[in-house]
């Protein structure tokens, strides 16, 4: 719809005359905070899946079977070279065709986990490669099997080595949850969009959720640095 009334254009379009009104945002604050919890749920669920895919993918990428190695590599390439929005649509509309009907929120968690997992595979693989061959040999020479050597000897130092990269990847994942509004999963951006469409206070609404996202990122960073000091603080030379 074209706006032709110059009076209206001046009122809505001219920043100088824009009168801030936070009332709709304040009224919607409980909804926005609930949206934050929705976002946190998506992020934590996605991370949990991503870390499982990441570690599992690293193990499988080293499989003795060429087909499995190839499958993991293809998965990583596929996910890293297509847009997340397309991925989440694809999962949302393709799963029902495969007979699996999921609500938007579980779908979004799955999509975030798959997407984050592909990146996590590459990051963790870098960590595993940074562990010296001697560590593996020492484990084998002590009579431990390959799987145990990976789990007990390689994994922790490998995760420690790439923990900063993993942290920024997961913060990115936290922010990417906003894309899940496209399939109307319950999270902060979709709540904001609803308030905005009811009140037209675009600047106020998105200004406030910008700050809320900043807070969520900070929360995640705190979460990860706590994990880091708790589990990865052993001394190294």
């Amino acid at each position: 719809m074209k706006r032709t009334d110059p009076q209206k254009v001046g009122c809505r379009g001219n920043a100088m005359n824009y009168a801030l009104d936070f009332t709709p945002v304040l009224d919607g604050l409980p909804d926005l905070l609930a949206g934050c919890l929705g976002t946190l749920l998506l992020a934590l669920g996605g991370m949990a899946i991503a870390i499982v895919i990441g570690i599992g993918g690293v193990v499988l990428r080293d499989s003795r079977y060429k087909a499995i190695r190839w499958a993991v590599k293809s998965f990583v390439e596929l996910i890293r070279n297509t847009p997340f929005l397309v991925q989440i649509y694809f999962i949302y509309f393709a799963l029902p065709l495969a007979g699996l009907r999921l609500d938007p929120t579980p779908t979004a968690i799955l999509a975030l986990g798959i997407n984050g997992g592909a990146y996590a595979i590459e990051i963790i693989r870098g960590g595993v490669q940074s562990i010296s061959r001697g560590q593996v040999e020492a484990g084998l020479a002590l009579g431990l099997h390959k799987g145990l050597v990976f789990r007990l000897i390689v994994l922790k130092p490998a995760l420690r080595a790439v923990f900063p990269s993993l942290t920024s990847q997961f913060i990115l994942l936290t922010l990417t949850t906003s894309v899940a509004s496209a399939i109307s999963a319950y999270e902060l951006t979709s709540v904001a969009q609803r308030i905005e469409s009811e009140s037209f206070r675009s600047f106020e609404v998105f200004g406030v959720i910008t700050l809320l996202y900043l807070g969520l990122s900070w929360l995640m960073m705190t979460f990860f640095s706590t994990i880091s000091t708790r589990y990865f603080s052993y001394p190294v030379k």
Binding site: S132, A138, A141, L142, L144, L152, P157, P235, V236
Partner: protein
């Protein structure tokens, strides 16, 4: 520490390790050729030779960190083959100490020593800890049990690595240049630990350039060059009357006074 009488004359006993016609290639490069070696229980072997001569490869074939393409290797009656059980059996018998210690950085000294007994031998935590503390005491490092490897000196780390290997109660110990990565003042503490082990009758194969150690504890010194065993003899003969030109040249290089 109780010191047992050295077991020297066990020639009649079954050989602990037998390598027969072992050959190994890395691609087109022949790393080991026609290796024949028999090690008796309680025997102490020092392996020396120029770098790239195959010493490390040889001992790494014994616990199958390297796979040889030809020949047969037997350890304590078990024939090494592709079967996982034989590899497990051999690795339980054979302990190894590496040039770069390879302690696990994310575990304390005690945890390093307890890990394999608990996970590979399935001994209880209590028993594993008891054994670990006893062996850490034996390498005179028990007061560092709760420290992390990075908090120890190189010599201390290598002594922990020896204790860690001993916690598996091996009947053979392989040493792959255990003092080469150490600062000079730390070499002695590690060699003393090794001498202690030798005196207790441990079967040992040591790749080392410490000729003083070879003189003191070795029953046989084996000289390798280009993937073959060139010469082997008791240390007295080896150092005073080397038969081969290669050996003389090597000894000349390594023992040359400055």
């Amino acid at each position: 520490m109780t010191r047992h009488v050295p077991i020297r004359d066990t020639a009649t006993a079954d050989p602990m390790i037998v390598m027969a016609d072992v050959e190994k290639w890395y691609g087109g490069f022949k790393a080991l050729s026609a290796i024949n070696l028999s090690v008796r229980r309680g025997e102490r072997i020092v392996l020396c030779g120029p770098s790239g001569s195959g010493k490390s490869t040889l001992i790494r074939c014994i616990n199958r960190l390297e796979v040889c393409q030809k020949g047969e290797i037997r350890v304590g009656g078990t024939r090494l083959d592709d079967d996982g059980h034989s590899i497990d059996a051999v690795r339980r018998e054979v302990g190894m100490v590496f040039q770069h210690f390879n302690l696990f950085p994310h575990m304390t000294v005690l945890q390093n020593c307890m890990l394999a007994p608990m996970r590979a031998l399935k001994v209880s935590r209590r028993e594993a800890e008891e054994t670990a503390r006893r062996l850490l005491d034996r390498v005179r490092i028990s007061e560092q049990a709760d420290k992390y490897p990075a908090q120890l000196s190189g010599g201390q780390q290598q002594r922990v690595a020896i204790a860690r290997a001993l916690c598996m109660r091996p009947s053979v110990m392989l040493f792959d240049e255990p003092t080469s990565a150490l600062d000079p003042e730390m070499v002695k503490e590690v060699l003393d630990t090794m001498i202690g082990l030798a005196e207790e009758g441990m079967t040992m194969i040591c790749v080392t350039h410490e000729m003083g150690f070879a003189r003191q504890v070795a029953d046989r010194v084996i000289f390798m060059a280009e993937g073959s065993i060139v010469e082997e003899a008791p240390p007295d003969t080896f150092f005073t009357q080397p038969r081969h030109e290669r050996t003389r040249k090597f000894l000349g290089e390594i023992l040359r006074p400055y």
